[in-house]
Every structure is written in C-alpha cells, then in structure tokens.
C-alpha cells in the first residue's frame, strides 16, 4: 500500500460558537481517488477549507506528505502541490478565461510553466481555448466548471480537491466532468472528491468516507459503501 499523502488528524473546526467538525480524522494515500460523502451541512466544504487553510482547525493537525500544515500559510499551500476546485466555481467573473487560468499559476513554482500548462488545459478543454478572451462570468455553468478545474490544474498539482463539481450541471455535463476526473486520476493526480451525488461519486472513486454532523460515520471501499444498507437508505433512496 502506498504512503499517506494527506493525513487529517482529529481536527476541530468552528465558525464562531458553532463547531462544525469534531475530531475528524481520515487519510488519502498517494495515487488514490477518494470520495468524501455527506448530506448538506455535514461539514464537507469546511473540511476542504481546513485543508486549504481558509478555515484553520482549532485543534488537531493536518499533514501533507508528512509535513504539518500548521505553520504553512494558506497562500503557500498551492506551492506544495495541492489545489482546490471550490464549490460554486468561485471564478473571477470579470476577468477573462485566460486571466483566470494564468492566475492559477501564480505561485513561484508554477509561473515559469504557464505556457505549457495553458496548452495542457486547452487540450483537455478545447472549449476554453475558444472562449479564452471572454470574461469568465459570461460562460455557461459547464464551461465555468471546466475553467475552475483548468485553473486548479495550472499549478500542476499532485493532489486535487473538487468540491461538488457536478452541482447545478445537466446530466450530460456531469458525465463529462466525472470522465475528466477519472482521466486526471489516470494521469497520476491523487484526488479527493466531495459530492452529494453519491451514485456518481462512488462510480468514479476507489474509497469513500461518510461524515455526519462533522464526525466520521463510515468508511470503506466504494463497492462496500454502495452496498451498505444504511447508505442506500439515507442517500440513494433505495
């Protein structure tokens, strides 16, 4: 079994007085594609915000490649090789597609390779090449999702987190996004996928965790989770 790339160790995260995550622990190993599952408000997005440093944990530790992230400022974490495709894309709506992508390579280690990575992203999403001079706010939902994934890829991450990438997309586009995620994983990127669309998420991933009100509830291989009666009842409506 390969080594742990990301170790989340008993973290607590609170917004003011409201504690969202309680002693949450899990691991993602090098080369894996893992899904973090849970209903609305379970703490999935908060978990990703803790990993990226936008909402640092009040207790516990997060390690990336064995190094504690406590002393790593959020803006320096992209340079370690992690990238997030945030929920709701969070693009810079008034900047062009190309500017959005170029900013994805803002970190010192990524900047020299802007040209090469732009080409990679445009090969992956030819639509973005056509629209590169348009402002991102004028793109359709699917194109915005491509742009958000493209922006995250511009820093050549070894670890990619995606927060509800299928949210608000038509089924055909969801297929495309999931296919892209599978391709990126096949290309060697370790992936942590956060989804409400449990069915699709378990199809594409190898393992999964279920969190409920900020606590780890269940974990197992995707096949096991898909067969788990509790999950089938709670999330799949079966």
């Amino acid at each position: 079994m390969s080594e742990a790339l990301l170790q989340v160790q008993a973290i607590d995260v609170a917004y003011g007085d409201i504690q969202v995550l309680h002693q949450l622990s899990f691991e993602v190993r090098e080369g894996e594609i893992v899904t973090l599952l849970g209903s609305n408000g379970a703490g999935k997005t908060t978990t990703l915000r803790a990993i990226t440093g936008l909402r640092p944990p009040s207790a516990g530790d997060i390690r990336f490649r064995g190094q504690s992230l406590q002393a790593v400022p959020p803006a320096a974490r992209a340079s370690l090789g992690m990238a997030l495709v945030p929920e709701g894309r969070e693009l810079w709506a008034q900047l062009t597609v190309r500017e959005n992508l170029e900013l994805g390579a803002y970190g010192p280690q990524a900047r020299p390779h802007i040209g090469r990575n732009l080409e990679r992203v445009f090969t992956l999403f030819p639509r973005l090449a056509e629209r590169q001079k348009q402002v991102a706010g004028s793109l359709s939902g699917g194109e915005q999702q491509m742009c958000a994934i493209g922006r995250a890829l511009m820093s050549e991450p070894s670890f990619l987190m995606l927060d509800e990438p299928s949210l608000g997309l038509a089924p055909l586009l969801v297929d495309q996004v999931m296919k892209t995620i599978a391709e990126l994983h096949a290309g060697g990127i370790t992936i942590l996928l956060v989804e409400q669309n449990l069915h699709r998420a378990l199809e594409v991933s190898q393992r999964g965790f279920v969190i409920e009100t900020g606590r780890l509830r269940l974990q197992g291989s995707s096949a096991e989770l898909a067969e788990n009666p509790e999950i089938r009842a709670a999330y799949l409506g079966l």
């Binding site: 969070e90 693009l91 709506a93």
Partner: protein
C-alpha cells in the same frame, strides 16, 4: 467664443488632476472595500511634501514627483499595517473604518497646523507664470504639466493592472479574495500594496494641485468630495470611466461659473453627487471593478 475655448481648456486641464485624485480612492475601495476618509488628508500632506522639498531644497515640484509618490506609498503601507489591517471589512466594518480613517485625517491636519501654521501656501516656480499658446488661447505651463501627469499616471496604472501578474492579482482580489489564496496569492500583501498605491496617488494629486492652487492644513475636504463624485460617476478604478467622470465634473464646475455666482460653484460637485446617486447609483458605466 474665445471665452468658451478658454473655459473648455481649463476644464480639460483640471480633469487630469481630478482623475489622479479619484483613482486612488476608487482603487482602495474597489479592492479593500474600505472608504479611505483620510484621502483628503493625504492630498494635503502631498502638497506640503512638495512645498517643503521646493522651499528647503529648491527641488522643482515635477522633479520631486518620485520622492512624494514614494513617501506617500510608504505612508499608505504604514497606515495599512498599523491601522486598516485590524479593521473589519465591507459593510460590517463601515463605521469603524470611517471613524478611524477620519481620525487619522484629523491627526494629519493638526500635525500640519503645528508644523506649518494655518497660513495659505503655494508652490511657485520660475516657470509657474509661463504659458503656452495653443488653440488660439494661452495655457499655463503648470496646468499643462498637471494634465500630462494626470493622463500618464492612470495609463501606467491601467497597464500595471492589465498586463502584470501583480496587477491581475490585485483585480482578482477585488473580486474574490478566497480564490486568490487558493492559487497562492498572499492577499494581505496585495491589500498592503493596493493601499500604498492608492495613497501614493493621493499624495501625487496633492503635489500637482499645490502647483496650481493655494493650500493650507485644512485643505483636502473639497478634494475628497470631488474624488467621491468622480468615483461614483465613473465606477471603481475603471481608468477610462474615471477619466470621463473627471472630465464631466471639471466641465460642469468650470462652466457653472457662467450661470451662477462663483461662491456657489463649490456646491456643484455635491449636487452632482446627489443626482448621480439618485438617478444612476451604479455609476455611468456599470459595476466593473478595476478594468
């Protein structure tokens, strides 16, 4: 007709100054969502910096531009690091930041009273009284120089914002700071630089204004008001919008002399501000930030 051309030329020349003045205010608000009420105080401070450099060291005000801009930038960085950084931002931070920055203005003003007394001053150089014949009218050389700087500086900023990594990061922070952190932009650093740049522009505007108008430690409130009018009219940090809005304000002010007593022309900017807020609260050119 000659009178008309005279007035039109004065309006255009004044517009360059107004654009420089307003751009700093718009930039800081656009990126940090903080209304820099100390803007007028920094304009006044810029005027005194130029006055001291000219009076003590005999430095021509146009040669002292880099010094005044540099000093004002550092003043802005200091203001951000010591004061503004600790304030709540956006709608929630409104009252706190307004009061604090207004207080800072009072400190600047009273420091100037202590250092320079309340007397009116101006910067007069050997070429202050020279003029250039153009379009059948005579244009003062200083006003022409002010216009030149007032056009070049916003164009330079536009190039910075459009074509550099730093500029793109500044525009992106204005729209979505969290996404900036995710791609490795140190948002605090961008806030510091932006506050410094906005303050540097205010200092520059003060220096330019001092070569045309008299000033004293109480100066700056009229300039702040005019900056507000231009920002509200022209949008936040849109270079073209700011330029056009500055021109509109200058034209209206200058031509108001024809129809109302001169002591009322100062109110023109205020009337325009109210009209714009009522009729087009989003500004003449929509909501684009820093484009």
């Amino acid at each position: 007709m000659e009178r008309f051309i005279d007035l039109a030329v004065s309006a255009v020349l004044l517009a360059g100054l107004y654009a420089t003045m307003a751009y700093g205010l718009g930039m800081i608000y656009g990126v940090l969502r903080v209304v820099n009420l100390a803007h007028g105080g920094v304009i006044m401070a810029g005027a005194y910096m130029g006055w001291v450099l000219h009076g003590r060291l005999g430095l021509d005000p146009y040669l002292s531009i880099p010094l005044v801009v540099g000093a004002s930038y550092l003043l802005g960085v200091g203001m951000y690091k010591v004061l503004v950084r600790h304030l709540p931002r956006g709608a929630a931070g409104g009252p706190a930041s307004l009061l604090l920055l207004f207080g800072f203005w009072l400190v600047l003003r009273n420091a100037a009273y202590l250092l320079f007394t309340g007397n009116d001053q101006s910067i007069t150089t050997t070429w202050s009284t020279r003029s250039v014949a153009l379009l059948g009218t005579h244009i003062s050389a200083t006003r022409l120089a002010v216009l030149g700087v007032g056009v070049l500086v916003p164009l330079g900023l536009h190039a910075l914002l459009r074509h550099t990594h730093l500029g793109r990061a500044i525009r992106a922070v204005a729209q979505n700071p969290d996404s900036c952190t995710l791609v490795g932009v140190d948002v605090e650093r961008i806030y510091t630089i932006t506050f410094g740049l906005g303050t540097a522009l205010a200092g520059l505007a003060g220096l330019l204004s001092a070569t045309i108008f008299a000033f004293n430690p109480g100066s700056g409130s009229g300039e702040l008001l005019k900056s507000f009018v231009v920002v509200v009219l022209g949008g936040l940090g849109s270079v073209l919008g700011t330029g056009i809005a500055a021109l509109i304000l200058a034209v209206v002010e200058v031509f108001a002399i024809l129809v109302m007593p001169s002591y009322l022309t100062a109110a023109v900017g205020f009337i325009m501000l109210v009209l714009v807020l009522v009729i087009r609260p989003g500004g003449l050119f929509g909501h684009r930030v820093l484009g």
